[in-house]
Symmetry: C2
Subunit: 189 residues, 2 copies
DNA sequence: CCGCTCATGTAACAGGTTACATGATTTA
DNA sequence: TAAATCATGTAACCTGTTACATGAGCGG
């Protein structure tokens, strides 16, 4: 039951609508959590019922009305308890890695295509996270910001996301090169 | 339904018992997939029923009997189809990152303790993956091995796991330093 | 006028986790 | 003698995914 805590953490910076939360989770909140809109709407409803978040209706004219949510004191207490309790080890689950594991036994054409696409996505994400970091720290240096900034949580998690995507990009590039070279060597044989 | 493909990929290198598969997945098969024993025994049973793997009984004396499984031709075909189909984007889901995201609003004592433990685990895993890589490539250089080795899939995925754990370690160390320094600064205030 | 963005859900199903269950052997 | 390893499962429950459903405005 950690999705709820991810939602609470995402709401710490201010009021968001279900839609905005969904967008944040679709990108992956700094790449550390992903969830679908349906799950989030459901979770927000549940959180509100339990009093961990509170929503207020905002009437709009050219857009459908929306509900902006914020974390309540009870919500903060819940987050506090969550942080104090033991975390499960992180896990990565990646279809692409399964495919690469089997690379010696299957055709690699489609695999290389997918690795290429993944590399593109990773590239885009590094740019995105880079921008986000710059925006968060403003005109301060990273050192300065991390020492004296008043909201460093998102910055730190974004750093992790950036490193992850950079490694992703490097690994995809390397793996593509290896698979391609082997294919050419085989076709020469 | 990708667990089954992860299992098939894990069985490509030779016969394994359910218990051995479970151990491989408990560490995380090169850190790209994690699953619990119960799930794996169930999956193996299903895979056998569908003819994607075949098992043979091995009678042991000082140990309970076991069943060793290997991938069948139908299993290979299934893997081939899986590789050709589109993969879902990878996602990371990490409780610890949720906690760090909320770090400005909660007590950081327990958090730092967990980050420290995570760093230790990451350190241990880098060592483990380093060993595994050395074992896989034998006395060849990495370049040599990746060009001419006949089973490079596990090597490539292990490289990804190693990079992941290295980044993990760096990030934990950095985050701990930041949180500790801020706490000391606050207590001086 | 087609597709994207904003805005919110329900229902059925597939997948994963937790708890329970057993029992012999080897190692510290 | 207590704990870890080998060895395999079942059942109940919780979580997450997929498909379906609706509808108005805005930009090209």
């Amino acid at each position: 039951m950690a999705l709820r805590h991810a939602v609470l953490a995402a709401l710490l910076d201010g009021e968001l609508s279900g839609y905005q939360v969904a967008k944040a989770f679709d990108i992956g909140v700094a790449n550390f959590w992903y969830a679908q809109p349906q799950q989030l709407y459901a979770e927000l409803t549940r959180l509100e019922k339990e009093g961990l978040v509170a929503g207020r209706e905002v009437v709009q004219e050219s857009r459908p009305n929306k509900r902006l949510f914020h974390v309540t004191d009870a919500g903060l207490a819940e987050l506090e308890a969550f942080t104090a309790a033991a975390a499960k080890p992180a896990f990565v689950r990646d279809d692409l890695l399964v495919k690469v594991q089997a690379a010696d036994h299957v055709d690699t054409h489609a695999l290389v295509a997918e690795l290429t696409e993944r590399a593109t996505v990773a590239q885009a994400k590094t740019a995105l996270f880079g921008d986000l970091l710059r925006r968060l720290r403003g005109d301060r240096t990273e050192e300065e910001f991390l020492r004296h900034g008043d909201r460093i949580g998102p910055y730190l998690t974004c750093l992790r996301g950036l490193a992850f995507e950079r490694e992703n990009l490097d690994w995809c590039t390397r793996t593509i090169a290896v698979l391609e070279e082997r294919r050419q060597a085989r076709s020469r044989h």
